[in-house]
Subunit: 455 residues, 2 copies
Amino acid sequence: MTTSGTNEFPDLQQRMAALIGEGDVPTLEAVLEELHPSDIADVVESLSDELRLALVRALPADLASETLAEMEEGEARAELLTALAPAESAELLHELQDDDAADLVGELAPEAQDRILAELPTDEAGDIRELLQYDEDTAGGIMTTALVSVLGHVTAGEAIEAVRVKGREVEDFYTVFVVDENTKLLGTVPLDDLILSDTGHRISDLVQPTVASVFPDSDQELVGHMIARYNLASIPVVSVDGILLGRVTFDDVIDVIEAETTEDLLLFSGVSEAEELRGSSLEAVRTRLPWLLLNTMTASLAACVVWWFRSEIAEATLLAVVMPVVAGLGGNAGQQALAVTVRRLATSAGPLEARGRVVGKEILVGLFNGGAIGVLVAGAAAMLAVAMGADPRLGVVVLLAMWGNIVMAGFAGSFIPTFLDRMGQDPAVASTVFLTALTDLTGFLLLLGLATVIL
Amino acid sequence: MTTSGTNEFPDLQQRMAALIGEGDVPTLEAVLEELHPSDIADVVESLSDELRLALVRALPADLASETLAEMEEGEARAELLTALAPAESAELLHELQDDDAADLVGELAPEAQDRILAELPTDEAGDIRELLQYDEDTAGGIMTTALVSVLGHVTAGEAIEAVRVKGREVEDFYTVFVVDENTKLLGTVPLDDLILSDTGHRISDLVQPTVASVFPDSDQELVGHMIARYNLASIPVVSVDGILLGRVTFDDVIDVIEAETTEDLLLFSGVSEAEELRGSSLEAVRTRLPWLLLNTMTASLAACVVWWFRSEIAEATLLAVVMPVVAGLGGNAGQQALAVTVRRLATSAGPLEARGRVVGKEILVGLFNGGAIGVLVAGAAAMLAVAMGADPRLGVVVLLAMWGNIVMAGFAGSFIPTFLDRMGQDPAVASTVFLTALTDLTGFLLLLGLATVIL
């Protein structure tokens, strides 16, 4: 019984390396066959390139293929598959369901793809080629064509027989799809309902209308929403004519949700969504530097404002002292509003929720929080000014600048992602890079502008 | 066939209100019975309090209960349940699986809980009370005790018979659990394997060892990781003695993953995890103001640094001009490192991944990006200084300050969450509030300190 199962891995890794070194394949197999492919994948990923290849070759084909499927997407996996002979690779792909096989093949160069697919039976290669046509972020890109379907007019008993025949080649099916003679989807029968029903019942009496279906070009994020919203173990993928093309199961969707979460947090933080979490430093530089360059431009705008008011600052250096407080709190208040709004949109039930209300709420929150923080900082600034023999009206300037900036931050933090969402864009693109640029700019403009007028 | 299903909702909402007003219950029922409880829940949430109550009363008990289960957690749902008579509420709870019932009851005040549970059959009330004991963030808090289990010595045919008897009271079972006479878990048989097997086969030949199990007090995040890692439709919850207590299914876990994603992004952005996304403005003030107060203190530290060097600024106001650029870019580079590290930890395979390598990579990225951006901004600053007749060595000061600050940002952005994770804390608590405070502080110290030394 395992509750975490990962504690013994560092030891395991050494033991594997030793067994591979000794060429003790029987012991190696015995140890690995106790493990889940996900765990073997971790061991493989922690080994050197040669040991990886040796380990994958030592595994039985079914275990080796599942291990490859569970490895992280990326270069390491593609290199491993390329290092095998095309016939060896084909043998592994043959063991996998077509969606996993297509994911693996999709990472290879076109020539390498052709070499491996040529070694597969024509129908399998055809299925994989078909799946490779779909964009990897779509329902088509994550669906499998392996599914169990029955005709509407059969009985439950006949359906169970059909399931017993067809099901052997299909992994993890939870739902039986009911179709007409043209494979047009009529509805679904959950596997547990099928087992519970009397064998004489007609499938047409058991069938449930399709709660939700998606098209092959539907965004994978929509697939995730549908599965989460309707608690589905699998969702059918249909053509515009309603022809059943494939299915996406909950486990693919959990992977999608995790990937989208990563993408959103990275975008939100000004990292290109293309950065691999475990990629090289060079790749990280390539994906992040453009954002930092953009940020240099936006920060220069804030610097221009300060430049414009440089003589005021030379006269009253206290202004430079409160600058980071005004800008910093505006930035943080804005990020709070941004985070709440982005998640609110991501988990939104749909158009029922009035978007205007979101922005209104954030302005109200900004009015209150901005007032409270403004009074606090203004009091401190006024006392400091008195102590230094400067103009105590600095307090009024600070109060108005902070209040205004935090209200603006609440407005921008909620309006920008709401607007992007309305335009069909990912609201997470409203990254904090733009927001903090805006709050810096407004904060300095308000602080220094008001200082010129009031002091 | 529905691909989104939400477009017709605003109309639907008006039609519902009209039908409720006219008291036309038959038409109302006919319309609603076409909808999924998740969709009805959205309609209910968009109605006024009285209409909500009328609508829930108009629905058949099974649909009303599922609708309540699909509503958002929170006050609105608790009020609706309290507005019903205890006997009415009990009738609805009776229709639900125990985990959903416990979630609903758990939102009520203790006296209201007792009133409703008193109306339920003793065994059902007992199951719900048992589940209520567990913390809502644990496996016990999201598990159901409703499951299908068989003894190891029966045949597949006998098991299918047992499933047909017991399964009628259990919703969405995908896995049959195999236990001994003391209900100690021996392993699992996926439902599809059971159907595919010959009826004469012994279950003990079909049983798969338990890939993963959790304890009732395991964190729900761990449950999510296990289900995602091993692609499980449901995971058993066992006592320390291995006694089978319940199961958690993938759909609960998808909800958990979404909730944890929200929590992480909010914490990351300096919003207390307790803030409800659709809560009132007052609640938002209460959860966010403490973070802003904390931020006021951290920003004051940066202000102190500026105060310390105020005479240098009065002499060379160009320093005040470049201040926001040095601080802003440090903040953004740090947030990039923080986001990548937080997600890397959240999706980590376990202790196999060397933590030191993460920090090393971020320092390397900082060295490169900091150098590139530093040279760019330093060049501009030097030209500006020359144009204004000021000391062009400002360029050197800016270069060193930006470079140092961005490297520090990479170190802090990766080290702090890694350290928190090592200490068993949620790495997302390493919010940008602390990080930007640090990059402001270091940025100003470096810029103004170096200016004092060099200029």
